[in-house]
Amino acid sequence: MIELLMTVLSTTFFVTVVRTTTPLLLATLGGLIADLGGALNVALEGMMLVGCLTAVIVSVFAPWYVAVLAAVLAGALLGGVMAFFHLRLKADIILVGFAINILAAGGTVFALTLATGGDKGTSINLTSKAVPALDLSFLGVIPGIGDFLVRMLSGHSILSWLAAFLVFAIWYFLYRTPWGLWLRGVGEYPAAPEAAGIPVNAIRTWSLLVSGGLAALGGAQLAMFNYIGFTRDMTAGRGFIALGAVLLGARHPVGALLAALLFGVFEALAVVMPGLFNWIPAELIRMIPFVVTILALFLFSYRALQARRLRSAGH
């Protein structure tokens, strides 16, 4: 138990948490944008997966930032497909989302086979690149806390910093710009913005495009930093966990950050625990993120339900 405590309080654990949280956070922000626009995006998982593969394959031929951009565009394209079938052709958004997941699960393995010339499992024989880590070792000159700051802040993926910035940017967009107000209005009560002449469908389309792009950005982090390379189904439910984080995050970017962080911490625990407690079966450790997600979902949903009841009783 002492070892676990020591590990959790160490700076290396903090670095692990940032690493595991980043893909979740990016996907959660994507889910948040779609949710605010009135669409529960169950395709986060598939979009992340496509982001992973696109990033890996493009990075073989191009610099890392081109690969990341390509992943974002691929995710946005999937968001566009969702928007087209949901808004134009009036298909149920949940069914469209699962169709995207099926497309991604099969399509990525198919594309991987083509890219590797027959390997259906991993991209191990492709030399893909990594997202560089941001080196902040110059902070070490600060007397006293310099060393600590370097260990905490240096060496994170550039995308982690981008994700942290995006939390602020999305907050600013939602609460300080007219388009943010429109987006929230569209999700809350579409008839009102419609009557006010706001292009409801265009806003929803944009929200799904951005949602796909963000989820795929999370995939890029996963396949170009957390792991280098693609393995089939490598997202392993992270998109669905992010969907849980969206529901937990109380429709607010800071809430999304906290929820993603909660799941990120437990995923990081699952990363460090096999080394500490080799008597705990690996299957049970792998189960942790899912058990935590479902328990958190039950707990937070219950609290939200009670808050709603109290409010309606007060009226």
């Binding site: 298909a91 169709a99 529901l247 949903s301």
Partner: protein, 370 residues
């Protein structure tokens, strides 16, 4: 209007609906296969051969026909499970997890002393259904008691069930030698007898047909089914009419869970395995989404759709073995079919193209036609 003409009219109406829906489904399948063909054309060295295998191989030998029919029975069950929850407008995605816990329950029974008696088969099936029902009940009760979204909770339960199965097979269940990830073979009394010798067609097919009739009867000939369909149509209205919609939702998810559990026992107690192993399900459970959507969640249409889709699935497996095209290409076909059938796409393409082009002038005319 006299009774006979009215019955005649409703019959004709129903036939028209069936024709229209079948046309839409076939149209969607043709478009999806066309797109798949284009993909194969650009990526395969022998595209025509690959497509030939996809479309003809399942019929070629008794053994492959057996594989196909076995798949049809399983697809029917998962299609029924999804149909039940879709009809109640719940999006519980937990069939996969129910399959794993069902298989675990069946394995524990089959490898216990009961398994070696005549009761091994029925008790195994029953316990599997019970375990699946419990796994389906959790997201349902969590939804009505806590307001927890059933999509997320059922998906989490899938992953938990898979790891649970991995864990118990590795550590707890009896196995032939240490280190392998399969259990001992079940005693013969706990394994479904084959219906056709030398194939995988077994008692599971009978279970599937009985399940079709049972679900049809429950949905269309009982008051529970009427309430369930009302809740699916409009939960508020159903509540207003005095139906406890929450109880209906939970019971629909629990019943679907029992079907998922049954599917689990069909896997491990069937001729295919006869033992429990890790990750045995091969992503079949989620194919129920396609089957249910194309069948419009109608239980009697489910086996028909399963027959066609099972053929395609089997063809893809054989194409994977015999040519350079991986079976995963079928995921593209599946996704396109779901997208087209779930949307307002219709075969005579005029309205469809009008929608695509976003000609809003066409929209009011369309509404008026309805």
């Amino acid at each position: 209007m006299s009774m006979t003409t009215q019955a005649e009219l409703s019959r004709r109406d129903r036939l028209k609906t069936i024709r229209r829906e079948a046309g839409r489904a076939l149209g969607a399948a043709l478009i999806a296969l066309g797109i798949a063909f284009i993909i194969v054309l650009f990526t395969s060295k022998a595209p025509l051969e690959a497509f030939n295998v996809l479309l003809t191989a399942p019929m070629s030998r008794p053994r492959t026909i057996g594989l196909w029919i076995d798949d049809v029975a399983k697809l029917t069950i998962t299609g029924l499970a999804f149909s039940l929850v879709f009809q109640a407008r719940q999006f519980s995605m937990g069939v996969q997890g129910q399959v794993y816990v069902g298989a675990l329950a069946a394995a524990y029974v089959a490898l216990s002393p009961i398994g070696a008696t005549w009761a091994g088969l029925p008790v195994g099936v029953f316990c599997a259904m019970l375990a699946g029902a419990f796994w389906g009940f959790i997201p349902g009760i969590a939804k009505v008691k806590f307001g927890a979204n059933e999509i997320v909770s059922s998906l989490m339960l899938n992953y938990i069930a898979i790891e649970l199965c991995n864990f118990l097979v590795r550590t707890n269940l009896p196995k032939p030698q240490p280190g392998v990830l399969t259990t001992n073979n079940f005693p013969e009394t706990a394994v479904f007898p084959p219906l056709v010798d030398g194939t995988r067609i077994d008692l599971g097919l009978i279970f599937a047909l009985v399940a079709v009739l049972a679900v049809w009867f429950a949905l269309y000939r009982t008051s529970w089914g009427l309430k369930l369909r009302l809740v699916g149509h409009n939960a508020n209205f159903a509540e207003y009419a005095g139906i406890r919609s929450t109880a209906i939702m939970v019971s629909a998810m629990t019943a679907a869970g029992a079907l998922g559990g049954l599917l689990g026992s069909m896997f491990v107690q069937g001729q295919t395995y006869g033992y429990l192993t890790v990750l045995f399900e091969g992503n079949l459970a989620f194919e129920g989404i396609l089957v249910a959507i194309v069948a419009r969640s109608r239980p009697l249409a489910v086996p028909v759709v399963a027959l066609f889709y099972g053929y395609l699935r089997q063809g893809a497996q054989l194409m994977n073995l015999r040519t350079d095209v991986p079976s995963e290409v079928i995921g593209v076909v599946t996704a396109i079919i779901i997208l087209l059938v779930a949307s307002s796409f219709s075969m005579p393409g005029r309205q469809f193209w009008a929608r695509i082009m976003g000609r809003s002038a066409a929209a009011p005319a369309l509404e008026a036609q309805k």
